[in-house]
């Protein structure tokens, strides 16, 4: 069985989901980043409005486009607008 994707959630995204981390099953050949985000939002509807203003991060780098492939074992993060300082 393929390893799941680790989904990291921060700030409002974490509050909306109620967890800081999810394990998400994807096909062995991977899944488009946009489709992965859509699936997560479908499972957690409160996340949908936050996703619209968030940046997606794949293995520590910003996702370049919705068709970028996320593979089993990868790390996928949802970054709501930043607020350090």
């Amino acid at each position: 069985m393929a390893r799941p994707v680790t989904v990291l959630l921060f700030a409002g995204a974490r509050v909306a989901v109620g967890r800081a981390e999810l394990r998400w099953s994807v096909p062995a050949g991977g899944l488009a980043a946009g489709e992965l985000a859509r699936q997560i939002a479908a499972e957690y509807p409160r996340l949908a409005p936050i996703l619209r203003s968030s940046r997606l991060v794949h293995n520590g780098e910003y996702v370049r486009g919705p068709s970028e492939t996320v593979r089993p074992g990868d790390e996928f993060a949802i970054h709501p607008p930043y607020g350090g300082g």
């Binding site: 990291l8 921060f10 700030a11 991060v57 993060a77 930043y82 607020g83 350090g84 300082g85």
Partner: protein
């Protein structure tokens, strides 16, 4: 030379100043951000909790330092940020720049803090003192006997 740090330990201005020691540094600017009670909540904010996506945050700190070194004639840089629960008054962030003269030192520190706030994956959330319950109106009725 840049010092970047993301830590759950208290930040020290004296340590930042020491990290900015550099030969020829005639101007040193240090910006310190602290937790303040938010007037919008009636001063009920007692703490802020900072969280970060550590790997990307440190990578962005380093990229930001490289960009500052490209733009300004710097001799030393500090980019330090705290994580975890911070009470009102505690230091959340220190950025600093050492340059030969004051003008680039001010400009560099300004650039660092303004960019950090919008490009580094760090978030804060408020922890507030619970609101007081409104008092029940006093019962002004008199002369009633029990039973």
């Amino acid at each position: 030379m840049a010092s970047v740090r993301l830590t759950d330990r208290p930040l020290s201005v004296a340590s930042a100043f020491r990290a900015l020691e550099a030969r020829g540094a005639g101007g040193v600017t240090i910006f310190v951000g602290r937790v303040r009670p938010d007037p919008g909540t009636g001063g009920r904010v007692v703490a802020l909790v900072y969280e970060a996506h550590r790997g990307p945050a440190l990578a962005r700190f380093r990229a930001l330092a490289r960009e500052a070194e490209r733009r300004f004639p710097t001799l030393g840089l500090v980019l330090w940020h705290r994580t975890g629960r911070l009470r009102v008054g505690e230091i959340s962030v220190i950025v600093g720049a050492a340059c030969a003269h004051r003008a680039p030192a001010f400009a560099t520190a300004r650039f660092l803090i303004e960019d950090l706030k919008v490009t580094v994956p760090i978030w804060k959330s408020e922890r507030a003192r619970p609101a007081r319950r409104p008092r029940r109106p006093r019962d002004r009725r008199v002369g009633r006997s029990a039973g």
